[in-house]
Amino acid sequence: MSEQIEQAILRKYDAGFVSEVESDTFPAGLDEDVIRGISAMKNEPEWMLEWRLQAFRSWQKMKEPDWAHLGYDPVDYQAISYYSAPKSMKDKPKSLDEVDPELLRTYEKLGIPLHEQEMLAGVAVDAVFDSVSVVTTFREKLEEAGVIFCPISEAIEKYPDLVKKYIGSVVPRGDNFFAALNSAVFTDGSFVYIPKGVRCPMELSTYFRINELNTGQFERTLIVADEGSHVSYLEGCTAPQRDENQLHAAVVELVALDDAEIKYSTVQNWYPGDENGKGGIYNFVTKRGVCERNAKISWTQVETGSAITWKYPSCVLRGDNSVGEFYSVALTRGRQQADTGTKMIHLGKNTKSTIISKGISAGNSSNAYRGLVKMGPNSDGARNFTECDSLLIGDTCAAHTFPYIESSNPSAIVEHEATTSKVSDDQLFLCQQRGLDAEKAVSMIVNGFCKEVFKELPMEFAVEAGKLLEISLEGSVG
């Protein structure tokens, strides 16, 4: 039976095609001139360049972290190109009609048509291709509501005060090795600002695509929800199937001011490498949000791609009564390795956090949950609930759980539940006896296991996530 399961998990990666686009790509290597070059390509003001250079100088003194439960060959940071953009984007197309059709076709193939009339109703998209944003849809409609949704490079030009105030306020430029690298060389990403009391009229989403060979993608996303506002944001990621490993080191900062709410969902499907572990994306991501009084940040992630995942979307619950949530499904198969989880830092009184993590390991993969719940000295009445479930498919994979709990307040309550289970032969047999084939059976069992997380995704994407899991699991059943 487990052989059948293995079959069903054999990989098939639908997004693995390469787009034939002529690009301007920096030669491989990283020094201050490269950073000046990136800054110049983006027409950045002096303060931004200075900020980057300081990040770079602190990065040079830092050591790559090695505490994660991951094993990979050292990354040669001088062998990567830090900027690549389609030539056609140089003249900054004013409308969709001026965008290279090959770029539009790329997104269409991925199921994300960028013509507004063809899009999912109610979802605005920022499409980032290698180092630049190709197009951002529905901008006018959003502007009517006062919502700013644009590439971060454009925000630096147009809204320097907002960017200056908040960039690095949640993830400081020297926060950690990968965040420092990102701060030095980040190229594009999205900027969102929701004004006071506004409920964003549409779902916002950014779709990241790495195309160029030997290029890293370093995007930076900054979302600021002003007092009493509300926004739901989703990011998706894919990359071509290549034999070389590629680096993706992103930073996401969320700022939820008093009474604001941010819901941030990720469907991560970077190329995971082949079954022998050749190729695939190294995904080193720093995501963090700060909640002021009564604010709420909810992270939902569905992680099915990447050869290496190092990612801990976190909440700093600074304001009283603020709420942090983390819902995660991480699926690893083949030779994939994931070390992912969250940090909930309770500083304010009566702060609440919920962590629901579902890890699914198949093939020869390794899947680790790593989470910190910290109750500060002033967090009177704070509460956390953590549920951490692992599902094993087959007998050559591994699941690990590393929970850290630090409490400096006697009135704070922390609950942790953890389970590990296997897709049992009994469950498979029941499904097959009712007429379902083995693949369908496993995908149904896994989907059931993830249900608590999927129901947190915006509706349009919950279906997508279920399907993605199905594709990922194809061939993994026995």
């Binding site: 032969d425 469950q427 029941l430 097959q432 006896q433 009712r434 007429g435 379902l436 084939d437 059931g448």
Partner: protein, 252 residues
């Protein structure tokens, strides 16, 4: 519709069934009784294709196909249904979704059109009422947190929805109180339409008070040692299985 000839079955290299013969025609209900360890459950698992149950010799023809050549799901699609003695839980997968996918997989394999969500909902509600389960059981995870009796009734609900040619009930009476037993029996009886066949595996005669079999077989030490009509079950009820151990030969 089912013909078993000289069937030998091993589990982990131990022979459990040792030359079993059984002929079942359309519409017949056959009860298989016997002491614990006689191989009653093995027969159901072997017929449904469970891994680890190996037919070392003999053959089985079901609905004019060589049953032993088919995969588990193909046997189900061909119309073979097994009601489990201990149904397993599938957390997070709703009963409704599970059954809809199953029924449609079977229909599609038969070249019939899949039910729409609305069509299936109607059928599922009827089936749910039929086995006396509250409708919210359709939304709950498959067997998740169900009591023993609820699980058994849930199995009968699946039988009703899947409309098999042959249903094998593996000790569907075990652990049931008399009321639950009646519900299960009524569910089964409602599916007796003169064409559908049943194999009712049970240790006790009790279930057969409610599901009247056409034939009763006594299985002991891997073989059918005696066959007869419903009266045979009553004999067992009166005298137990002790006579088997005295080495009395089968007379049927």
């Amino acid at each position: 519709m089912l013909s078993i000839k000289n069937l030998h079955v091993s589990v982990e290299d131990k022979e459990i069934l040792k030359g079993l013969n059984l002929e079942i025609s359309e519409g017949e209900v056959h009860a298989i009784m016997g002491p614990n360890g006689a191989g009653k459950s093995t027969l159901g698992y072997l017929l449904s294709g469970r891994e680890g149950y190996e037919a070392t010799s003999g053959n089985v023809v079901f609905a004019e196909r060589d049953l032993l050549d088919l995969e588990v799901d193909e046997r189900a699609q061909a119309g073979l249904f097994l009601a489990f003695q201990y149904p397993v839980e599938i957390p997070g997968v709703s009963n409704m979704e599970f059954m809809k996918e199953s029924v449609n997989a079977v229909r599609e394999a038969r070249g019939e059109e899949a039910y729409t969500a609305a069509e299936f909902l109607k059928l599922a509600k009827e089936a749910c009422k039929h086995v006396n389960l509250p409708l919210d059981f359709l939304k709950r995870g498959v067997n998740e947190g169900f009591s023993g009796g609820e699980k058994k009734r849930n199995e009968i609900m699946q039988l009703i929805l899947l409309q098999p040619k042959l249903a094998i009930l593996d000790e569907s009476d075990s652990g049931l109180d008399i009321d639950a037993l009646k519900v299960v029996a009524e569910g089964v009886n409602s599916q007796r339409d003169g064409k559908r066949s049943f194999i009712v595996v049970t240790h006790y005669q009790r279930l057969l008070d409610f599901i009247e079999p056409d034939f009763v077989h006594i299985l002991a030490d891997g073989k059918i040692v005696k066959s007869g009509g419903p009266e045979l079950a009553k004999e067992v009820e009166a005298s137990g299985y002790a006579w088997l151990e005295k080495g009395e030969e089968a007379t049927a």
